[in-house]
Symmetry: C2
Subunit: 394 residues, 2 copies
Amino acid sequence: MDINKIKSKRTKVMEYSALSELLRVTAKPEIVSLAGGLPAPESFPLEVIGELNDLVLKKYQGTALQYGPTNGVKELRIAVSDWLKKRHMKADPDLIGITSGSQGGLDTLGKIFIDEGDAIAVESPTYIGAVDAFAPYGPRYEAIDTDDDGIIPESLDKILRTNKIKFVYLIPTFQNPTGRTIIWERRKKIAEIIKKHRTLLIEDDPYNSLRYRGVALDPIQTLAPENTVYLCTFSKVLAPGLRVGFYVAPKKVADLMVAAKQSVDLHTSSYSQYLATEYLKTGHLKKHLPKILKMYKSRQEAMFSALKKYFPKSFSWTKPEGGMFVWVTGPEKFDSLALYWKAVENHVAYVPGTYFFTKQGIGKNTMRLNFTNADEKVIDKAVKKIADVIKKNL
Amino acid sequence: MDINKIKSKRTKVMEYSALSELLRVTAKPEIVSLAGGLPAPESFPLEVIGELNDLVLKKYQGTALQYGPTNGVKELRIAVSDWLKKRHMKADPDLIGITSGSQGGLDTLGKIFIDEGDAIAVESPTYIGAVDAFAPYGPRYEAIDTDDDGIIPESLDKILRTNKIKFVYLIPTFQNPTGRTIIWERRKKIAEIIKKHRTLLIEDDPYNSLRYRGVALDPIQTLAPENTVYLCTFSKVLAPGLRVGFYVAPKKVADLMVAAKQSVDLHTSSYSQYLATEYLKTGHLKKHLPKILKMYKSRQEAMFSALKKYFPKSFSWTKPEGGMFVWVTGPEKFDSLALYWKAVENHVAYVPGTYFFTKQGIGKNTMRLNFTNADEKVIDKAVKKIADVIKKNL
């Protein structure tokens, strides 16, 4: 059997990931990795899940283990709808769909919208997982200019004026990879632009709950609900291993998403869905979230201190009020990719920033650091090691 | 926002399912449905899952709730490898991948193999869920002739000789919808044909464990491991709501499947995977499976009796030694689709057989009946109702 004769054309974008190769070494126990995007396992509410297990089996019995509706169990869609009221979102349970993590939502959106060669507008840099989800469907990207306050509305407007764009993909709050948040004034402008061009916004909002300082901003969805698909997840506030995400979408989009998801996995784990339902309904999220925030806030502060203490003065970094990442920018001549293997030799890893750009060859002087999956001491040590490698090679 | 301007071409095959419309009424409480393909919720080992919950949290702790590898957790791949030895399969854990139900495997296979217009060879009739999974990727179908002993090897050989086929999709044991099993002599011939043409077989085997009588036949995979992707699931022996399936594939295919799955859902629920692991490792499957078999055997016998008692002499049906379905064939003039709404008026439902054929207009005189999701009395009553409607309208 010759696999090259039978594989589809789209496999060429899926087969080899240079970044996966790069990050494979981070699995070695001697490597301290700031490269991942993992929550801290010690942040998972293990005891709570023990309680919820008993509750779910007792309350839902066989239903918790049976096939369920493709758009998700009703109890969870209602509980999510209530939860989202805190973000000032009006999300009818019928417009909410449960996905297998946010990734499940991204794949579905790619499937229902992207034909080969279609253009999508994205932040520059943007989230690799979204690019991976869309890639098999063959899009091209228009990169929206960004600064410290998020995307520049005029850049978005220009792209929408001069291109036929299938949708705009943004992570407005604590963005991956930069940690940046789009400020309120720009959110309003973006909503107007989206509506003016009658286009679709995909607002990916996985880090919304992870705010350690400052005042929460309402999602852009609240300003343009008929033009926005809002994605979120339980991965950062409960546990990613359960693979439960959700979306809020205009009716016509929601219907298409359900139709597409049906053929992908029928539905997301019923059992995981009921655990998430009861996590919300019994008030456990409310009780547990402050513990996560306390842990991550301290780790983020440790990273800020270490960067200030160890990194050369020619480097700068974002100071997000939440999320999981800090984005470091070095001087023009700094090449984080070239330095990667030297860092690994020194038993430390990060993600070279260039991988987050849809245009090749940009962002060589940047890197993404994660602060949620290591404690303060480890973060301090790892940042120092990266700084040492930089200083030796600059 | 005009959704028609942004949706992808592939949505046209996903948007409307005539069958879904048809089956929507079966959700009404007054309808006794033999249309579904659901396991009995009373077959789920609720108490066992209660025990396994405690065990999994204690043994794996945060790991059970954290992101995991895309090909599945190692413990489960090893446990599945051991389990498959009973089917005389040599399945190296590295060639096993965990999917979000069998459906997850089918979607991934469609994604990595099918370009628009590619041909796939399938049994006639075949499983609707597979056709749905492949549909968005735009295949055309070559239907393999079948009789009571499964597909006719010469028909497969002819199709492979005269067409460029991407893969052959079969459910050799207790097929959905017919319940038929491909006999051993034909399995050997099919393996030879597959190897001779250097083509790929997808062997979907969800019902393997559900054997109530007779002698188990080894999967075709054992005869052509280098040319076969073997799919199976925990949905029929543990619980479908956990959404855990798996495959065994040649290395090159397994690698592609992992790459494709990564962008679809990152990985299948870690927690569900560890539950399945311990279900196998602690011997609970071995203890629990006989209970499922006893329940379904009796229900199947109730269906056979009722068909014999109530159906006109001009009707015949398959007598599978296992699985979940019986396939009924009426006289030429019988039209199960035309009769469907009259059956629903009489508070009973089935799946009109024509939906299982990839060529339109075939199989109008057939229907699929499920016997796992209703008890003996309900089955007797429902079969009688269908017979009454038939007799009134024949």
